[in-house]
Each structure stands twice: as structure tokens, then as C-alpha cells.
């Protein structure tokens, strides 16, 4: 029978699996995490008494419905939790799990690998207590712990207010929200944002909740420094009017929106193209998620769009796959889903304007700021590499010379800022680091066994 491999059991992967459930295909669903859910629907570890309905508020219904459906699907399918896809080559996904390494050939592949936070390095960002915004949510949902006792939420992202309001709801002190995008920019983006009224309403609700809870909200304030000796003690930001504001805290959740986890897409042969609005390289896909020969991409891994867009795109990718293989069509409402998806993904300018990536900050970073936290490479070392005579200073050459991006995160967290530094803060097209297998370090025991 035709074997379909789906990587990722978040909203996109589960929607794809669901749309394939009646088709004459064998589906293998792989996720590195122990339980289905992805980021949005991440669930508490077994035995953890966490009140998810309080944490999620009005979105708890969607969470519960997702997990009902996912539990049924995962029982029926070949579901492999705790399994990392570390490479794709030779028509097979290459797996690593507690039981060892394996290669699994596929007839068609759906990648639903999601996204991670995009980070602008700042002085002190490696201090204990500074975590990604996504991480702050993940730890709360998965483990029932908050990243600290007095938490600052900072950066700029639709998730900023959402995450802060979830912490507040769970009784954690939110010391402040520092949004680097000015309020005026948000207002200007409002007509665009109104095209996704549910998302906009959720954001406004979260903001209102925070205001009601007495949480100070600073908009248009630039993050200057994470201050502390052995751990975080305060976040310093420069308010719109220019004065320095210091907020005492013991933890900070930090992020500038999301960037797709597109390494597997690249290894599978999908073209990545620079997107001038998001200033990121994104997989080139058609409206249904076709990304190449027998290759489909759904959810945030292809196009950052939130949970609803992820589900719609998962179902559409599955339907496209069945069409392309000449198999009986699924009952996905293609026209309706395409319309909704186009609406949800149709305002990248609005998102980019309302939650701005502060690219000019890279240029202003002091030489001693750590850019690559894996190898402790500082901004000055990258600048020195850029001054060396070079035919064309591209990000991969600078990586080879400076070692920035060579560390074990493979440039996931320094990559966007490195690209800006190489681009010298210009508005023009950026370069990017190429993906390499294994896309994450393998357990040493497997590294020999799984040599590419």
C-alpha cells in the first residue's frame, strides 16, 4: 500500500492525518514530542494537575476537541512519538528514537514541523532566567511551572500578550509587557489585522486582561539589556521618548515572532525563497501546500499563520496529495478551505508591521554582545570576519570564518540576526544559513549508526 509519512503531530499534522484517514493509504505520523499537540495544543505531562481550562480560557474548547480527535487518530495510525526525523534523503525519512536509528521510505511526505521563536540577540540574553516566549508557554503547559516569580514579557509578537495573559491567569506576577513595536504602527496595521477577526479579538482580549490586572504595558520600547550577574535581575528598555526604563524581574520571555522550522523541507528538496516582508526564507509552496515531488508542507513550517491556518493547510495538503497520487478524493471542502486559508494568510504586511522585527537593532549591537549562544561568538568577531577580503560575503562564508551558526542549534537562534549583520541592516535581500543533516544533534550512541 502507498505509504504516507507525516512529520509533526500539531494542528497541521493531525488535520492532514484526519483527511487521509478514509483513504487507501498507510499513514505513519512521527513527532519528536511525547504527545500530540504541537505548540498550540501542547498538553500537560501525565499526572500533572494543571487546570488547562483556566490557562486557555475561551480557547479550551478547541483544545479539547483537538485532543479527542488526535487520540483517536493516533490509536489507529502508525503513530511514533518520541521520534526525531534527523534527515531526509534517498526517498526516506531518517529517524532516531530511544529504540535506535531507522530509515523509513515513503511514497509521499507531508512536513508539518511548525516554528520556533525568532530572536534578536541583546546584551545579557544568555543569562539564566531569559527564555524564549514560546518556551515560556511550553514549560507552563507541559510541566506546570512558570519561568519565574516576576516575569517580563518582551519583544514583539502576537504571542506576547497571549502568553503574558496566560501567566497572569495562572497567578504568576507579570512585571511588565515590553512591546518593541510602537502603538501607532499597530493602529496602522489594524485594517489588515481585522481580516482575521478571531485572532484580533483574542489579542485585544489578552491586552484588556493585562490592563485590568494592572500589568504595565510599554509599547515602542527597545530592549536594551538583560541585566544580572549570575542570573537575570532586570530588563532595561528604552521607551519611545528616549528615557531608560529598568524593570526588576527574575525571568523574561523574549521573542520577535516565529520562524518556520524549514530544515527538513530544504533537505527534502524544497526551494526556499527570501520573503522581503518577513525577512525570512520560506519554503516555496502552492496554495495547497505542494512543495516538490511527492512533497507537501503544511502549517507554520511553510507559512506562519496560527492554529486555524495550520489545520486548514494540513487538510488541503492531504487532499492535494490524494489528487496527485490519483487516489479517491477526501471530503475536504477544498474551495472553502482555500478561501479561509487565503484570508488568514493574506495579510503578512499587517502582521509584519504590527509586530515588527527590529532589524536595525543588529547594527546598533555592541561588539561584546554574544550573537551565537552555542559557541559564545560575539558580534565583534562576526564584524571582524566581515572585514576580511572576500569575493562576496555571504552568511555561510561568514559562518565558516567566524563559527557563528556552527554550534549545536545550527543557527536557529543566531541565524536571523547573523543574516541582518551580513546584510549590514540594509532593507535589501538577505542571505541565510543552509540546513545540514543531522538537523539536530543525535544521541552519541546513535551518531555512528546513523551516519548520513
Amino acid at each position: 500500500m502507498t505509504r504516507i509519512v507525516i512529520v509533526g503531530a500539531g494542528p497541521a499534522g493531525i488535520a492532514a492525518a484526519d483527511a487521509l484517514s478514509a483513504a487507501p493509504v498507510e499513514v505513519t505520523l512521527i513527532d519528536e514530542a511525547a504527545r500530540p499537540g504541537g505548540q498550540l495544543y501542547r498538553s500537560p505531562a501525565p499526572g500533572l494537575k494543571l487546570d488547562m481550562s483556566r490557562l486557555l480560557g475561551s480557547s479550551h474548547g478547541a483544545y479539547a476537541a483537538f485532543h479527542d480527535k488526535a487520540a483517536g487518530l493516533c490509536r489507529r495510525l502508525d503513530y511514533r512519538p518520541g521520534t526525531l526525523v534527523w534527515s531526509i534523503h534517498g526517498g526516506a525519512v531518517h529517524l532516531a528514537s530511544a529504540s535506535g536509528a531507522a530509515a523509513l521510505p515513503y511514497d509521499a511526505l507531508i512536513l508539518a514541523t511548525g516554528a520556533t521563536d525568532r530572536i534578536m540577540p541583546a546584551p545579557g540574553w544568555t543569562l539564566p532566567g531569559v527564555f524564549t516566549l514560546g518556551g515560556a508557554q511550553a514549560l507552563l503547559k507541559d510541566q506546570g511551572v512558570a519561568i519565574g516569580r516576576r516575569v517580563v514579557f518582551c519583544g514583539s509578537s502576537p504571542l506576547l500578550y497571549l502568553a503574558a495573559s496566560q501567566y497572569l491567569r495562572m497567578g504568576v506576577k507579570v512585571a511588565a509587557v515590553i512591546d518593541s513595536t510602537p502603538f501607532a504602527a499597530k493602529l496602522r496595521a489594524l485594517p489588515d489585522m481585522a481580516r482575521a477577526p478571531a485572532t484580533l479579538a483574542a489579542g485585544l482580549r489578552a491586552m484588556a486582561e493585562l490592563r485590568l490586572g494592572g500589568v504595565p504595558i510599554h509599547q515602542g520600547a527597545r530592549i536594551e539589556r538583560f541585566e544580572g550577574e549570575e542570573r537575570l535581575a532586570a530588563v532595561q528598555c528604552r521607551a519611545g521618548a528616549g528615557q531608560l526604563v529598568r524593570i526588576a524581574c527574575d525571568a523574561a520571555a523574549y521573542g520577535h515572532g516565529l520562524r518556520p522550522e524549514a530544515q527538513l523541507a530544504e533537505l527534502a528538496g524544497c526551494e526556499l525563497r527570501y520573503d522581503p516582508v518577513q525577512r525570512l526564507h520560506l519554503p516555496v509552496i502552492d496554495g495547497d501546500g505542494r512543495a516538490g515531488e511527492r512533497l507537501y508542507i503544511a502549517g507554520d513550517g511553510g507559512h506562519i499563520g496560527g492554529g486555524q491556518a495550520a489545520s486548514l493547510s494540513g487538510a488541503l495538503a492531504a487532499a492535494a496529495l490524494l489528487d496527485d497520487l490519483g487516489l479517491p478524493a477526501s471530503d475536504v471542502d477544498r474551495a472553502g478551505s482555500r478561501r479561509s486559508l487565503a484570508r488568514l494568510r493574506g495579510f503578512p504586511n499587517g502582521i509584519a508591521a504590527a509586530f515588527r522585527w527590529p532589524r536595525e537593532q543588529v547594527v546598533a549591537l555592541a561588539d561584546d554582545t554574544i550573537l551565537c549562544r552555542c559557541e559564545n561568538i560575539r558580534v565583534g568577531e562576526v564584524r571582524a570576519a566581515l572585514r576580511q577580503p572576500m569575493a562576496s560575503p555571504d552568511a555561510n562564508r561568514i559562518k565558516a570564518v567566524s563559527r557563528c551558526g556552527m554550534g549545536r542549534c545550527q543557527g536557529r537562534f543566531c541565524g536571523p540576526a547573523l543574516a541582518e549583520l551580513v546584510g549590514a541592516g540594509h532593507a535589501g535581500e538577505l542571505d541565510r544559513l543552509r540546513a545540514q543533516a543531522p538537523i539536530k544533534p543525535l544521541p552519541i550512541a546513535l551518531a555512528g549508526e546513523a551516519a548520513p
Partner: protein
């Protein structure tokens, strides 16, 4: 180790698990991640190999590899995605000689 970095807001109703970190006994609950257990007992996970600065993980979802610890003589693990287990011997410095893959 300093005072705990993290704040527990919901408890595990699971059995107690005991393990050690750099020889120090730590009690946790089954289902907890190593990161949650270690940062509920202290304020960092490890020191950077380069300059000795403390680190406590960053992404908390298996992407940044900032939370690496060692288990037993030869197992490297991400503290954020590895559950605690009875009798684990965790060390925050690589047991010599270290083989990095």
C-alpha cells in the same frame, strides 16, 4: 546552586523519583522533565564550556540545545525534553573524555 529559578504552579500526582546531579540528591515527581526538576532546585543547569557562564536552557522545546547535561558515563541529554527517572546520575560537565558527535 542558588534559589530556584522556576515557580511551580501545578503539582504532579505521581510517585516520587530520586536522582542525583553532580552527586547531589534531588527529589522530583515522575513526569517532570530534568530541566523542571533541576531549575526547581537551583538557578542554572550547567556552565558554558567556553567561559564558564551559567546557562539554564533557552527555548524549552528541544531546539536550542542550551540545556545539555550528561547522564551516566556516556549519554548526552537535553534536560528540557528528558524525563526524570529513579537513580539517574546526571552531571553538568561532560564525563571525560567527552565524545561530541
Amino acid at each position: 546552586m542558588g534559589s530556584p529559578l522556576l515557580l511551580r504552579i501545578a503539582s504532579f500526582e505521581t510517585k516520587q523519583v530520586r536522582f542525583t546531579c553532580d552527586g547531589r540528591p534531588i527529589a522530583a515527581r515522575q513526569g517532570e522533565s530534568l530541566l523542571a526538576a533541576l531549575l526547581s532546585a537551583g538557578d542554572h543547569l550547567r556552565r558554558h564550556e567556553g567561559n564558564g557562564e551559567p546557562r539554564a536552557g533557552f527555548c524549552l522545546m528541544g531546539a536550542c540545545q542550551d540545556c545539555w547535561v550528561w547522564i551516566g558515563p556516556d549519554r548526552r541529554a537535553r534536560a528540557c525534553t528528558t524525563p526524570v527517572a529513579d537513580g539517574l546520575q546526571v552531571s553538568t560537565i561532560p564525563p571525560a573524555p567527552a565524545g561530541f558527535a
